[in-house]
Symmetry: C2
DNA sequence: TTGAAAGCGCTAACAT
DNA sequence: ATGTTAGCGCTTTCAA
């Protein structure tokens, strides 16, 4: 950074007050058209760049929001960032990124960083490891709006954008039933993560609705990874399921590998469904039946929610706000035992 | 944002000067241990949060860097962000994100936003559409270090981190030759994008080294997408190649679809290699031979380069700096005609 | 080792 | 429609 042109320079150049320059630059109505033009012209000529830091300090509005995610390396979050940044940048806001790496300590640090940077809002997805939520409460205390996406937690009482995990799981399980499966296993995730628990519930309720007994033996819990999916499936294979609904796509992928290794045919012997609609699902063999979560839209909606809160007088009214996106079943080869294109 | 605790409050509380508080908080050596402790203690008690905006304005150091990428939705860039953010956050720096959406106008806007935000550096990947590079020169003029990654451009004379696209392409093509292929086609990308051009050159040189004639007929240029890959391959199929090296993985995927649709076997009739090591390549059938670009490391190295420049006296000396990461051939089913695990 | 004071660049009363 | 002025919260000389 070198000493740059300020509004002072422009003011001197035109022999007018800095206040007028400031007003002209910000399109304040009470400024003569001719002055405005003159100011903007010299600004351009001097190659003036507004200093948002100074503006922030004075106005108390940083025009920055913080986005806290587990990892930018995960496709899902990259996609959400994409949606968030799009809306923010359309509204003249900047996006600060912080990754928790699924670690509570980092998450806490991220919130502190945001607070120090005086972000005007935080959009966050809670890390898998996080159980204590006090650091989020700190935001509320300082009146910084918090909006959760995907990994939300109702206990915080903040607005959130989530996909209806329950219904997504219900749809996926129902689909497997409709394909004729009766011994449908489930590979679950960490149950303190709300979305994983809801997917389990959706699975159970779908079985109930179809009067299929829920067998504890057919439910195992893993760590949400390819490797874990493979291991869980190896356990399940001994219990002879005719389908498996995995808590997400990588788990499903591991399950597929285990099933293939065991010499069974998909979907003929065992049908498979995942959750998340990761890119690879479309290209593997067999292609993977899954649930689409509308990631890009999730980011956009979370960003919009932020602006709604920002512009509302009665902020508290919005704290109950919860936007639930409808998940979409994407049925592909891994589950289609019956020739049927209804679901696609 | 509400009126928060400032160092003034702490100073009053302890009846000392704000300067002392500032020094204590920043671990300035010339401050008595007891005062430092007292200050930090009251800071904590009053729930003081430093205001980085004020600090930035005064010190002229924002502790923010800007990252400009085409889209966070693309896995590759998510992965790079991951690496960048990791290093930055370890060094107490924050990361501002801006997406160009591959559009020149957005890219320009991003640089302006960064300049206004007084970022201390910019790490960027040039959009595919960008030909005019003046907006980058503006950074140099204002002494804001620019570091390019992946989509670099030597004409700018700024440090960069890239993968050796030429050698990656050379390795992939050589590998196809070693597998016994002789009529190796290439589906290229937009040739004004340096990395695509280098991949073409790597392909050509590999053929030359092995004394295989380069046939113009076997080279077609696409738009770097699944659909484009498919269309290009359909054209190539009429020219009877026994292998195809695609400029990147999605193009390769499209090519695979076209080859399968034509009833040919991979790799027996036509071997396929891509570039980028996208996640799906490992899971498709046949799994895709490709070139790994070390994305996470690319981000880390770019970030480290920034700190090197920041801490160096002779900044100009570093402007020639170019870090070339060695690409890694990942040979998988789509090209392995010979039983041979040497390359893996 | 500490304090006093200036001021980073801007905005927003208040005054004219 | 424009000018004057007082800071926003912090860091950093300079002085003690």
């Amino acid at each position: 950074m070198q000493q740059s042109v300020t509004i002072n320079d422009i003011a001197k150049e035109l022999k007018i007050a800095v206040a007028t320059v400031s007003r002209a630059l910000n399109d304040h109505p009470a400024v003569k058209e001719s002055t405005r033009r003159a100011v903007k012209q010299t600004a351009k000529r001097l190659n003036y760049q507004p200093n948002t830091i100074a503006a922030s300090l004075r106005s108390g509005r940083s025009k920055i929001i913080g986005v806290l995610i587990p990892s930018a390396e995960i496709n899902f979050f990259g996609s959400v960032i994409h949606g968030i940044e799009k809306v923010m940048s359309n509204n003249g806001y900047n996006v600060l990124i912080y990754q928790s790496n699924e670690l509570y300590e980092f998450e806490k640090k991220g919130i502190e960083t945001f607070l120090r940077s005086r972000v005007e809002g935080v959009l966050a997805s809670i890390s898998k490891e996080t159980i204590n939520l006090d650091h989020y409460a700190a935001l509320k205390k300082r009146n910084v709006p918090l909006i959760l996406f995907d990994r939300a937690n109702d206990a915080l009482g903040v607005p959130s954008v989530v996909v209806d995990d329950y219904r997504g799981a219900f749809a996926a399980t129902s689909h497997l039933i409709q394909q004729g499966c009766r011994r449908i296993a489930h590979i679950g995730g960490q149950q303190h993560v709300a979305i994983f628990n809801q997917r389990l519930r959706g699975y159970i309720d779908a079985l109930n609705v179809y009067n299929i007994p829920v067998e504890d033996d057919l439910i195992v819990y893993g760590k949400v990874s390819i490797q874990s999916g493979k291991e869980c499936m190896q356990v399940l294979l001994e219990r002879d399921p005719d389908a498996v609904f995995a808590v997400e796509d990588f788990t499903a992928l591991g399950a597929i590998q285990a099933i293939k290794a065991a010499g069974k045919k998909i979907p003929h012997d065992i049908a498979v469904a995942g959750f998340a609609n990761e890119a690879f699902g479309e290209y593997i063999t067999p292609s993977l039946t899954t649930v689409n979560q509308q990631t890009g839209r999730m980011g956009e909606e979370a960003a919009k929610l932020f602006f709604e809160i920002l512009n509302s007088k009665n902020k508290d009214a919005l704290y109950a706000r919860k936007l639930v996106l409808e998940p979409q079943l994407v049925s592909r080869e891994s589950s289609l035992k019956i020739k049927n294109n209804d679901d696609e």
